[in-house]
């Protein structure tokens, strides 16, 4: 505990943290999937919005047509809202994907970048000062 072993730091940096982040990543995707209830929205995609439909008893022809039209509108509204939600959900998942995927190369390259920038700065310093 008193000494920081470079092997431990490397293990932590290159194995431990990415493994943990993997878990967070998978959990986040599941969370977003459930939050937007994407699977359920696909199943109920064409259902009327809030079950809002009209059923008349012994309807006249005019009433039947009117009911059909109104029920169709309810389904269209349902479809539009659900499909929009699905799209928002999928976009959110994609953003999470991008953020996590972008994080990994940065994380792995950071020590290299740090080392390179150090070399570069020393080089510049030497050029400017001397």
């Amino acid at each position: 505990m008193d000494k920081v072993d470079i092997k431990d730091v490397l293990f932590w940096y290159f194995i431990y943290i990415p493994k943990t982040l993997n878990k967070i990543y998978i959990g986040t995707i599941k969370y977003v999937w459930n939050f937007f209830s994407i699977a359920f929205l696909f199943k109920s995609l064409m259902m009327p919005w809030k079950k809002d439909i009209i059923i008349s008893v012994n309807p006249t022809l005019q009433e039947t047509i009117s009911n059909l039209a109104e029920n169709l509108i309810s389904r269209i509204i349902g479809f539009l809202i659900r499909s929009t939600t699905i799209i928002i959900g999928l976009i959110t998942i994609t953003i999470c994907d991008i953020l996590f995927l972008a994080f990994y190369p940065i994380w792995f390259l950071l020590p290299l970048i740090a080392f390179m920038s150090l070399i570069y700065s020393i080089k510049l310093m030497v050029q400017n000062v001397f």
Binding site: M1, V4, I17, F35, F36, L41, S44, A114, S117
Partner: protein
């Protein structure tokens, strides 16, 4: 198997985890700051070229560096304590017990090593585990619950005892007892089908085999079962209160799209509240552990039952609403069956619903049911359901909703969870079989004291959190014990929860953090006006001097009093069956010899008041159907008193003496009731409610065979033989069956009184009169001859001492009354009674 922590993989992994939590964090931070410093250096020395193309790389770096840093700070909060995950799920094959230690257990062992180094302890003994409470929260939690609280000085003093002047760090080791403890802890973990030895396994092993800790527990008056209970509490506690992050959840709340597939419920929303949304993600309603059995039964009914509406029957306060909250919590968090998950349990506000004219109420109710049926994701919860079944629906603010409900429930259109108490159920639902048959009926029994302790364990952390207090385990037990003994207006668990809340508020107001049993005692004393803190001592004193106490009221009958006192002492010292009444006696003897007086004296001695006695004159129960008077009737009518006089009285006051006078006159079928009471300590009433008799003293008296006793007394028969003969006589003459007689703790024969005893009884009665007059500041002086004369006039061989009271009334009390009314005696004066006065 052996225990070698120093050479174990667990030690390496734990240390690595600890390293990652601290040093690595700093190392990476330093690294990142170093990178930023490098960048600043570059920009400073090359500022002229800042906008050139080759610096795009640097901008990219700065941008992602910042993004990285923000993410890094965000996630790093969670990158802790992975608890040896690699070995948690894989079976371990090692002979070294240390390999089985969990992350927390490793830290505990490590802390023991630190303490040993600090206090120069050469061989670490198991007791050292207890002193690691500073660093190990689980040990601290456990010791606080146990009530073993040490100051820093105590700790220093105790640990100094273990120190060894020849201590060498390189020779530090664990002693044999410590290894045994770890071995035992390993066995406990295996028994529980777990891979790793957790801290609670070590504590359990410590409690069951370490002499020092056992001694501490003994001093704290805690048994091994209590330790097991505390440890189970801890297991549940960490499970519920463990911090969970969104990605770790095995369950999720309802997603946004679920409610879009169900209908609008505008009227229902106005007259109800959504229990599911209150309970979701709230620890307040997590009592699902204690009500687990009832909740799973309701789930089964809701999923599989032909009748998918449920009626919960139980007394007010047994936890019916708690069950529904627990179910709502489970459903709202998606932990129930797929068919129920994310459904909404909506509590109907009946009082709100029943406002307005009858037609309006009915229309409103139909609309609500229609909406619930159409919405399809709603389970309606109606507390005190019978409020909707008014017997007088024409009155304002009441309806008889049974006809409306029949239509909906019969077609399975809606699902209802309703509650009712036993009386309302019998009056209003059982009388309507068509309605009753639409419900699956679930009886919610009052939890036992042991179950109540478990319920309190679930409730306590929340109460503690709200009031900033902490209960030692004995206080929890005390709450249950005292509420059982002294609070009778509510059942368990409600009365215990009320007491828990009261004690927490009181401690919080007085700025006390730890709640000990004495606070609970003082609160119960305040509530009930009974000095409960001395109850234990008082009880012991009463029991030891029971004969003396009873003889203050009962003259003679030495043998009977001795038998009764011995039986009560045996019962209270735990030597008798705990599931029977703690005393049951059959008193046999002639009338007027002190049988009923003994019962009264016993009630006064034991229950602190002779009125704490339920008395039945069994000559009133000579017909078979009079059994209904005792246990209630199953035939339901609004005009018939349906409570059983016996069952209701004992239900209302379970700590009482029950006296059945002249038991031989009761119908034989009634005597069969006694078999259950005396054998099992309980009786089921007509409504199916089980009434507990285990805290009662049951006394039956009988005059049968009194002539036989008289004859045997004249023949100077020995007490044992007399008892044997009288029992034979009662059996041979079919007065009592053998199974009835054998169930009593003792059959006690009362002897006829002799002249000397009658004089003593007369004196006792006159003393009572004297005391009564003294309270009116009148002094009564009675000559010795008066006592003897009254005893002579009042004694009747047939009726014993009973006529004496009448003689005192006629000869003495009448005389005094006249003197007082005539003004011959006023306050502060004396009345002298001599034989010439009557």
């Amino acid at each position: 198997m052996f225990f070698d922590y120093q050479k174990s993989q667990s030690k390496l992994i734990t240390e690595k985890e600890l390293l990652f939590e601290s040093r690595a964090f700093k190392a990476v931070n330093v690294l990142f700051l170093f990178v930023l410093a490098c960048l600043a250096f570059v920009i400073y020395f090359d500022s002229t070229k800042v906008f050139s193309f080759k610096f795009v790389f640097i901008y990219y770096f700065i941008f992602f560096g910042l993004v990285y840093y923000l993410l890094y700070i965000y996630f790093l909060r969670y990158l802790t304590h992975h608890k040896n995950e690699n070995i948690t799920f894989e079976p371990i094959k090692s002979e070294n017990l240390a390999e089985y230690l969990s992350f927390e257990s490793c830290i505990l062992i490590k802390e023991c090593l630190n303490l040993a180094n600090k206090y120069k302890i050469s061989a670490i003994s198991p007791a050292i585990i207890l002193y690691s409470y500073d660093k190990i929260p689980a040990i601290r939690w456990f010791l606080f619950r146990v009530g073993f609280i040490l100051s820093d000085n105590d700790k220093l003093e105790i640990l100094s005892h273990y120190s060894n002047p020849t201590f060498r760090a390189d020779r530090l080791c664990f002693d044999k007892n410590f290894e045994n403890i770890i071995n035992l802890a390993y066995l406990y973990s295996q028994k529980d089908k777990r891979n790793l030895i957790e801290i609670y396994d070590i504590l359990l092993a410590l409690a069951s085999s370490d002499k020092i800790f056992q001694n501490i527990l003994f001093k704290l008056e805690l048994k091994n079962e209590d330790v097991v209970d505390i440890i189970n509490w801890y297991k549940n506690y960490i499970h519920v209160f463990e911090k969970k992050y969104y990605w770790q959840k095995d369950t999720f709340e309802e997603g946004v799209g679920y409610s879009w597939a169900s209908g609008y419920t505008p009227v229902l929303n106005m007259y109800s509240s959504d229990i599911s949304s209150h309970t979701a993600n709230s620890i307040e309603h997590y009592q699902s552990l204690s009500h687990k059995k009832n909740i799973s039964q309701i789930e089964q009914f809701l999923i599989n039952g032909n009748k998918n509406s449920i009626l919960l029957i139980g007394d007010q306060g047994v936890g019916k609403k708690g069950i529904v909250s627990g179910l709502a919590y489970k459903i709202a968090n998606g932990k129930s069956n797929d068919l129920l998950n994310y459904k909404h349990i909506i509590e109907l506000s009946v009082s709100h619903l029943l406002s307005g004219p009858k037609d309006q109420i009915e229309n409103r109710f139909i609309r609500i049911l229609d909406e619930a049926a159409y919405a399809s994701n709603i389970i309606i919860f109606i507390d005190n359901f019978t409020q909707l079944l008014s017997s007088d629906p024409s009155s304002i603010g009441s309806i008889d909703a049974s006809t409306i409900l029949l239509n909906y429930l019969a077609k399975g259109k809606i699902r209802i969870i309703a509650t009712a108490n036993y009386d309302d159920f019998r009056f209003k639902i059982e009388s309507n079989p068509s309605l009753k048959n639409l419900f699956s009926i679930l009886k919610v029994e009052e939890p036992t004291p042991e179950e109540t302790i478990n319920i309190l364990e679930e409730v306590t952390p929340l109460v503690e959190y709200n009031n900033h207090v902490f209960y030692v385990f004995k206080s929890i037990k005390k709450i249950v014990e005292l509420s059982k003994l002294y609070i009778h207006d509510l059942p368990f668990p409600q009365k215990a929860i009320d007491l828990l809340n009261d004690s927490a508020s009181s401690a919080s107001a007085n700025k006390k953090f730890l709640i000990y049993p004495n606070l609970i005692e003082s609160i119960v004393t305040e509530k009930t006006k009974i000095p409960v803190s001395n109850a234990g001592k008082d009880e012991s004193k009463t029991l030891l001097n029971l004969e003396e106490f009873l003889h203050k009221r009962v003259i003679g009958q030495n043998e009977a009093i001795r038998v009764i006192s011995d039986a009560i002492r045996r019962a209270r010292s735990g030597l008798s069956d705990q599931n029977k009444p703690f005393g049951s006696f059959l008193f046999i003897g002639p009338t007027g010899v002190g049988k009923t007086e003994t019962a009264k004296a016993l009630a006064e001695a034991y229950f602190k008041n002779e009125k704490n006695m339920i008395r039945f004159d069994m000559s009133e129960f000579q017909e078979a159907k009079s059994i209904e008077q005792l246990i209630g009737t199953s035939a339901v009518s609004k005009n018939i008193e349906s409570h059983g006089r016996l069952t209701q009285a004992v239900h209302d006051n379970p700590y009482t003496l029950v006296l059945f006078d002249e038991i031989e006159k009761a119908h034989p079928s009634i005597l069969n009731l006694f078999l259950q009471i005396l054998d099992e300590g309980r009786l089921t009433d007509a409504a199916g409610r089980v009434v507990d008799f285990s805290n009662t003293i049951v006394i039956s008296t009988s005059n049968a065979g009194s002539e036989k006793i008289r004859a045997m007394i004249n023949d100077k028969t020995s007490t044992d033989l007399m008892k044997k003969n009288i029992i034979e006589y009662l059996q041979q003459n079919n007065i009592f069956k053998p199974e009835f007689l054998n169930r009593f703790d003792a059959v006690v024969c009362y002897k006829p009184l002799n002249q000397l005893e009658v004089i003593k009884i007369t004196k006792l009665m006159l003393n009572k009169l004297s005391t009564m007059l003294k309270s009116k500041d009148v002094n009564l002086i009675i000559e010795k001859d008066v006592v003897e004369k009254i005893a002579k006039i009042g004694f009747d061989p047939l009726f014993g001492a009973r006529p004496i009271k009448r003689v005192i009334q006629e000869k003495i009390e009448n005389l005094i009354a006249k003197k007082i009314l005539k003004g011959e005696v006023s306050r502060g004066q004396s009345i002298k009674i001599s034989t010439n006065d009557f």
